[in-house]
Symmetry: C3
């Protein structure tokens, strides 16, 4: 039972997160920085966001988790990311890697493959990005070598590792009409990795909490503009009752595939 | 008649834009990035925003239009912009150039004049910026050499080329109390250039759609804070009826001047 | 009486600010840029935000005040900041220095100490940052040498210089759940320094106006998401009656300490 996801377990972890106020260091793209910081603050975590190569090791090793997002991958970020990743790795911090748009840039794709060698805890990617990273391989098999678990986002989200997956059904199409919702979702997973030791469960918690808040917000919003404040409010106000009412686990698979 | 602007024609183009979901690559300033991305998403387009010189050619040539905005013109942007402009030019993509604050920085002004040699489709500028770019010349005459059309923004917007201009009257003063509304308006013009082949009409559509959404939002907003979500919602919800009700074309001039 | 803070005096300065529309040049962190610009616009000031070393001297010397914020201190900012500071100093513009997170980064701390030698008008810092800058010294004594006045932020804000301090009690805990509220507060102080010649009074005005707007917004908001538009609206709508009703000066000390 300890390895399965329930709404009670999510609510407990959310409470623990709010008490612990973990600091999540985010090397994320320029478009997502402000929204990601506000998502983490609304959730109950604390963001730090510097990307300066000279400073990032200290910020990453003293943080409770690290998010690396490859959007707007400029020279400063390209220098800072491996430094931060190794600092977090040495300090045994959980690490989320979000290889944004590797399917559009060969440079990013090569860079992301190199980062996977450094064994991040979690890879967050959509199907196009996975196909670019691992052409003609089954995603969970491909990742087994690196030891990372996978959160594959889409209309339905699949979280897990080879032989153990959760299919999650929360979310709302209006989230795709706001920039950086996916990027901020990766930061929420990092925040749950800071308080929940089972990384598959932590990732599933992050996906579910963000998407449930998105559902609540979409019901209140007239469009993508009013969705943003409503989403941050929903993350701030989210409680066990709402999680229990809305959590949509399509399938939870514990056994080995094949 | 095909060369004149009507509310029906705007509504049709907006429908085409929403179906085509053109990707607009934006090299824009750090202050405007997030808001511009959200404006494009609310409108129905897709933003991509990287400014890395190594990656920007691929992003620009595969996009449906390119926006170049000279705000916060740092070294990375200064390197990336000519690369992106040429890549988009070779791929025959429409290009919007927004020479923000060239009247405050000689470096930018020289840089913007060089970019005009590369023949962008549209120059979006206010009167002070035009005066800095072309001292003591009539704006439409000055631009005729470069082949670019002009969207000159102000209390009243003037869009066109030598001998063919539209004066447009939509908008609201509260828009000037929100950062990057002008910059985001340039992105909306780029989005219409991706679906409408007559660049004068496309620019006028972009100006009108953004400003009509601004009027709707200003009527609902208590101030510049609530204007932002209302503006994004208005862009998302905008329909032909609202466009028809509000479109304010002060003058549409088809003949040659002089 | 001219050296003391009253709600009437704040209301008059706010009126003067709105009439003068001072331009505040902000070299601030990537997370805070957009929100800071919107706070200044809502207040009635005009932001300029470039951080390019090649351009920043002209922008800073022609501005009415300069804000230097050390968050996300990358190489471009590290180069631009001393240039901007000296340009503003030569042009006799007021300068606010906000040494964000100097307690987390030795590089920043050294950099901030060097900047203090250049005699900014105002240092905005919390207790942890002051302790990092001046270990085992009383904050107001430590600053006396540099000639800067201090705005020390916290649950209660203390503004002043050795022998002359104001303790200010406005504000709301929800402000801490939104990123960059502190950074934007520094920009508001810079805006009041542009219209009020007594820097202690100007800083106290900035602190009070921002925090009063925060209180109004927090009463209307459901959470940190809806706080942001409400805060900007409150800054835009703030009037003398509201300031008079809410201003909370805990103590105003004119005499010399000890």
């Amino acid at each position: 039972m300890t390895s399965s996801l329930t709404s009670d377990r999510i609510a407990e972890a959310l409470g623990a997160l709010r008490r612990a106020t973990p600091r999540i260091h985010c090397i994320t793209n320029a478009v997502a920085q402000s929204f990601t910081a506000n998502v983490l603050l609304a959730l109950g975590a604390v963001p730090s966001m510097t990307i300066a190569p000279e400073e990032v090791a200290g910020f990453a090793s003293s943080a409770d988790a690290l998010l690396i997002n490859l959007g707007t991958l400029d020279e400063t970020r390209r220098l800072a990311i491996p430094i931060a990743l190794r600092a977090a790795q040495e300090a045994k911090r959980p690490i989320v890697l979000d290889p944004v748009f590797v399917n559009r840039s060969e440079i990013r794709c090569t860079f992301a493959r190199d980062l996977l060698q450094e064994r991040p805890t979690l890879l967050r990617a959509n199907r196009d990005e996975m196909a670019a990273l691992f052409p003609s391989r089954e995603p969970f098999d491909a990742l087994a070598e690196s030891g990372a678990i996978l959160a594959m986002t889409g209309a339905e989200d699949v979280v897990g590792e080879r032989g153990r997956t959760l299919r999650l059904g929360n979310g709302h199409p209006l989230l795709a009409r706001v920039t950086a919702t996916g990027c901020a979702g990766g930061a929420v997973m990092a925040a749950f990795l800071a308080v929940e030791t089972d990384p598959v469960i932590a990732a599933a918690m992050g996906v579910s909490v963000f998407n449930i808040a998105g559902e609540i917000a979409a019901e209140q919003a007239a469009g993508p503009g009013s969705l943003v404040p409503a989403l941050l409010d929903a993350l701030y106000l989210l409680d066990g009752q709402e999680i229990s009412k809305r959590l949509n686990i399509i399938e939870q698979r514990e056994g080995r595939h094949a």
